[in-house]
């Protein structure tokens, strides 16, 4: 029995990756939930919005690297992030002006808007593939580890190492900053309050003189910023591949729905619930259990509940359970 090594192994393989992944999902789910709260439809193009923002970040990063600019031990992509956010804001505002506004004025049913967002998804997906191609792109640089497994072992003298990648550390820090800014904006500023009012009761908000087009515009700007940040962080942590962002749609929606669509707090909670379940259920527990089990009772198999290819199934099953037993999600979201 070796509790300390077991804990370190657990932290290394489960907790650290799940926290990073959960932050990325939470940022993505916040975007979905904001659109749902204000514009009242499920945006299928969200994954591709993330891909578009991340793509601009990749391109700007390459430009900066070529110009010899670097950010010390931190990845250059962080310097590119503001430009990427700007580019993404332009894209979503143009899309809103050309596509969504027409249906808003018509008061189209939400399901029509979902189909429209499918069309937008195709276009954004095509755009990203057209500009950067469908392949893997690496754009992370700077120091690779905050602390590497070997350093940790030397430092503590334990048999297990704990590695924290720079990208994981940055993900968590950036996510905390972004979420803090968002909540400050929604709760303290006048514009943020008008957004929440509009989300809660559209008619009353209109009566009290809130300009709906302004609310929608601010929403898109926030969504673009969140989506780009999520996309860049995910790309730094794993790698940038357009198709993967499309596949992220499912866990992101699952996070938003589990937390309760329309509830920002729920989106964050949902993101971490989904991430932790995915990682714990698809992790092979052999190592941790070997440290914990008494001698001669070590597990013989990998003790992996499900193979990693089934990670979609995990988010999906959680989604179904929540929908069946608590249809508005854990944090009382909307149901239209």
């Amino acid at each position: 029995m070796d509790l300390l090594n077991a804990l370190v192994a657990l932290a290394n393989f489960v907790i650290v990756p799940a926290v990073a992944y959960g932050s990325q999902l939470a940022l993505g789910a916040l975007g979905v939930t904001l659109i749902y709260g204000i514009l009242r439809f499920s945006n299928f193009a969200h994954g591709d919005t993330m891909a578009f923002g991340a793509m601009i970040a990749v391109l700007v990063t390459w430009g900066l690297q070529a110009a010899g600019v670097s950010f010390g031990p931190l990845p250059t992509a962080l310097l590119a992030l503001p430009f990427a956010i700007l580019g993404c804001i332009v894209l979503v505002l143009v899309t809103d002006r050309l596509v969504y506004r027409f249906y808003r004025e018509q008061k189209a049913k939400p399901v029509i808007l979902v189909i429209v967002s499918m069309g937008v998804m195709f276009i954004m997906n095509g755009l990203v593939r057209f500009i950067i191609g469908p392949d893997d792109q690496r754009f992370s640089d700077g120091a690779r580890f905050l602390i590497s497994a070997r350093d940790f072992k030397e430092l503590t003298g334990l048999r297990e190492g704990l590695a924290i990648k720079t990208s994981q550390g940055i993900t968590v820090v950036v996510a905390i900053v972004a979420v803090a800014l968002l909540f400050w904006f929604l709760n303290k500023t006048r514009t943020g309050k008008s957004m929440r009012a509009y989300s809660d009761n559209e008619d009353l908000a209109l009566l009290s003189g809130i300009n709906p087009e302004r609310v929608v515009m601010i929403t898109w700007i926030l969504v673009a910023a969140l989506a780009t940040t999520a996309g860049v962080l995910y790309g730094l942590d794993k790698s940038f591949k357009p198709f993967v962002y499309f596949q992220l749609l499912l866990p992101i929606f699952a996070s938003a729905i589990v937390g309760g669509l329309g509830s920002p707090l729920g989106a964050i909670a949902g993101g971490f619930i989904i991430a932790f379940s995915e990682v714990t259920i698809t992790y092979a527990w052999k190592k941790v259990l070997t440290y914990l089990a008494p001698e001669n009772l070590e597990p013989s198999g990998l003790v992996q509940l499900l193979s990693t290819d089934y990670k979609f199934a995990v988010s999906f099953v959680i989604l179904l359970i929540v929908l069946l037993f608590k249809p508005t999600g854990l944090f009382k979201g909307k149901s239209v």
Binding site: I115, V116, G119, F130, G133, P134, L249, L250, A313
Partner: protein, 437 residues
């Protein structure tokens, strides 16, 4: 111009486009478009049943299409020697145990009073059931996968004629749809969309991973053809009467045999399409079809009239998915192989949706027309894009990075074009090319 004339003209235009491909590119390419167009039309009929008739938002088409493909392997390929005795029965036993676990948990949930005891016993049953299932399943699956892994490693099929696999594909998809519908229908429209999106991904993950079933990503090759309608090229080339006919047509034997094989498929697909189209048309006009549309247009009113909305939704969800399953089985037969990694949601779910919306949701002929038109564009946008890019970049010097990038990227114009078509149709003609009557 009456509606009938307009619709006939539309079909003639799409037919003319495919003929044009035959004259300008090759007849081989034209018949390929025709064959996949026929299959797409069947998928579109399935989606139209769900969305056009009943307003169900199913974005899991890919999953049902893939299940149809799986049925082809399970029905028509020969069984692997010794696989059943090695572990096949163990796998079946494990699956039964797994099903019993779920049924047991559901029974407990229904029969026992609410409370901590019930929750605990459900969790206990599920956990115990899972470990028992794994204990039986893992060694059996490993034993099957160990048999000749380079060419087999799966249970194999029943060695029945491949045409039987088509209805079997429909049944398999219908069974899955029933399970999914039981849990996910009754959710709000966009929740149902997310749920079906997830189901489709899970079905694909299942097919990629469960090697004992259909070899996973190692793919299954050499699926038998529906003889005698569709022959094999080599046999035809050795058949004197075929050679005589080919000569009479002025074709060389190789071209003639490939065309003959493809036209054989076209004939079979056309028969299936016409039968399904006839059935869908009859359903649309029947009292049942009117009831479906009434439910779609106003659920509350329909319920007040005593219609069981949930049951009707389940019914049409299963029917539509079965049609998609049949189309999937036909497609795998046409390909002659099952490639789980080839199933992409953009291609097999969302493209079918574009077909239905562009053609005209709620109208079967519209869905069929949309399927042919969109499939034609999906194939032809690539060469057109390349030609366009060559035209645009004509002023740029050869070897410039921008020029080569633009020309290389022309292939990705497809998705962009499809999105553009969808948005334009939704904006300016939201009821599609042939609107619902």
């Amino acid at each position: 111009m009456t509606e009938a004339v307009k619709n006939t003209l539309l079909f003639l235009v799409v037919g003319g486009l495919i003929l044009l491909t035959g004259f300008t590119q090759s007849w081989n390419a034209a018949i390929l478009i025709l064959n996949m167009g026929l299959i797409s039309a069947i998928m579109a009929i399935g989606v139209n049943l769900q969305w056009g008739f009943a307003g169900l938002f199913n974005v899991g088409v890919m999953g049902f299409v893939a299940l149809g493909g799986l049925a082809v392997v399970l029905v028509s390929t020969p069984p692997t020697q010794g696989a059943w005795s090695a572990g096949g029965y163990g796998i079946v036993l494990a699956l039964l145990l797994g099903a019993a676990t779920v049924v047991g948990a559901v029974l407990v949930a229904q029969k026992f009073p609410k409370g901590r005891m019930r929750t605990l016993s459900i969790v206990g049953i599920l956990i115990a059931g899972f470990f028992i299932y794994r204990a039986v399943f893992d060694p059996s699956a490993a034993a099957v996968e160990a048999i000749d892994p380079a060419v087999a490693g799966n249970l194999g099929g029943l060695n029945l004629p491949v045409l039987l696999a088509w209805p079997a594909g429909g049944l398999l998809a219908a069974g899955a749809a029933w399970l999914i519908g039981k849990t996910a229908l009754g959710l709000r429209s966009d929740y149902l969309a997310i749920a079906t999106l997830g189901i489709a991904e899970i079905i694909i993950a299942f097919m990629k991973n469960e090697d004992w079933l259909a070899r996973g990503v190692k793919n299954v090759y050499g699926i038998p053809r529906p003889a005698p309608v569709v022959g094999y090229e080599v046999e035809l080339q050795n058949d004197p009467s075929f050679l005589a006919r080919a000569e009479w047509l002025g074709l060389d034997p190789v071209t003639a045999s490939t065309l003959s094989v493809k036209l054989g498929y076209s004939l079979l697909f056309l028969i299936v399409l016409l039968v399904l189209l006839w059935m869908a048309q009859m359903a649309l006009r029947s009292p049942w079809g009117r009831m479906m549309r009434a439910i779609r247009d106003n659920e509350v009113a329909a319920e007040a009239m005593g219609k069981n909305v949930t049951r009707r939704h389940l019914q049409i969800f299963v029917l539509g998915s079965a049609v998609c399953g049949i189309a999937g089985a036909m497609m795998t037969t046409l390909d002659g192989q099952l490639t789980p990694s080839a199933y992409q949601p953009l291609r097999f779910t969302f493209l079918v949706w574009v077909m239905v919306i562009v053609g005209g949701s709620g109208n079967n002929f519209g869905a069929v027309l949309g399927a042919f038109l969109i499939w034609f564009l999906w194939v032809q946008v690539e060469p057109i894009g390349l030609w366009l890019m060559n035209l645009i970049t004509i002023g740029l010097p050869d070897g410039s990075a921008l020029k080569s990038h633009l020309i290389d990227s022309a292939a990705h114009m497809r998705l962009f074009t499809m999105g553009l078509i969808l948005l334009i149709v939704l904006r300016f003609s939201p009821r599609g090319l042939i609107p619902e009557k």
